[in-house]
Symmetry: C2
Subunit: 229 residues, 2 copies
């Protein structure tokens, strides 16, 4: 098979996904829903982080979660245990969520009018970077155990993300982890990336994460509503 | 685009790769080279593990290393600092090594007659599972920081691997890490997977890893050579 043919097929797939992602984005806007696409390596702690965040934010926002994994519904069950609705998407052989999967899962969530939608992507620092799901922005969760040079080695994902959450910061003292170097590398591939350090285990840093979310939520509200507050 | 067309293109890509992988396998056999394909999440510690292993095995075997990453030549440089030859392959947007990349890199290594070839794949627990590189077997490196359920969530990779190296075992005491559960989950998707625990930082467990390699090296030798030993 010619590489031209492969490139054409890739373009077709991405083009179709982009159209569906635009539809999702329009739906989220119509529902006044702020959607985040959480991406990371497997095991960086996205689900633990979400379990804490939705537990602590559910009093302030309507929240829904879409969970992506190749197999198992472990993550959706962990979210549901907090009382927040979650839809599990199993991608099978697939290495990322796509906009069609998110559209289908969003249909199955309760109406989140004015609320938050967290989409937890398949753990993969490569492929999800290329697939827009219609989210307001990508949040890359990076764990202190992964090594400082990952933003340089997987630049597309860090370039595509608006926020880097450096998780497992409680482990930093027992690791040879250099926070300043990690941030420097991330900003080398994305000068505008915001950075927060958190520990999903201890809760350290979550107040700043919630403040970041609230700021985004206010920014997206229609001007009339903002003026009324 | 129809999903039939996508499936046909995937089949074409995998079929072409399988043919090139068979060529690689024949070359490795002709050179009496034992080739391992190391796969893992980003940051599981493949390179640190290899730096230690090649340093300690280079007195016993001719060794070559092929390093895969989206970007940077950091890993090949770390290997070369040990005195062992290494070729860096940058996959750009690509999420895995393929057999053609390995064939090209193998051409650029010195002759490893009777030796070991370590191929470090792109950090990704999904896509490299489907791409045979011509290796004798896959070794999945799994770190104690990643959470016990990853073999269930990314089953293809654990099903495709002959050995699971559980790395960062020195961190297990400070984590909520359940070794028995991890092994149980891995064997649920692959009853034959062998398991060793190691720490690339402290060197714990490496003697058993080297014994595993030596056993494989003896097993692959032509019968005449084995009989002469």
């Amino acid at each position: 098979m010619s590489s031209d043919r492969i490139i054409q097929v890739e373009r077709d797939i991405l083009g179709k996904n982009d159209r569906l992602a635009a539809d999702n984005r329009a739906r989220f806007r119509a529902d006044d829903v702020l959607a985040f696409n959480l991406v990371s390596s497997p095991g960086a702690g996205k689900t633990s982080l979400l379990v804490r965040a939705v537990s602590e934010l559910k009093g302030s926002f309507a929240i829904g979660v879409i969970e992506g994994d190749q197999q198992t519904s472990n993550d959706a069950e962990r979210i549901r245990a907090t009382g927040v609705p979650a839809i599990q998407v199993n991608t099978g052989k697939g290495c990322h969520l796509d906009a069609a999967m998110v559209a289908d899962a969003y249909d199955r969530l309760p109406w989140l009018n004015g609320g938050l939608l967290f989409i937890e992507n398949v753990g993969n620092l490569v492929c999800p970077a290329a697939f827009d799901l219609g989210e307001a922005c990508k949040i890359v969760v990076f764990s202190t155990t992964e090594g400082e040079d990952k933003p340089l080695k997987y630049p597309d994902m860090f370039a595509a993300s608006s926020l880097m959450l450096i998780n497992k910061i409680d482990l930093a003292p027992v690791l040879d982890f250099d926070l300043a170097k990690t941030i420097e590398y991330a900003r080398r591939v994305n000068p505008n990336i915001e950075v927060l350090t958190v520990s999903a285990r201890t809760g350290e840093g979550f107040a700043a994460f919630y403040a970041w979310i609230r700021k985004r939520a206010v920014a997206m509200k229609p001007a009339t509503m903002t003026a009324a507050e």
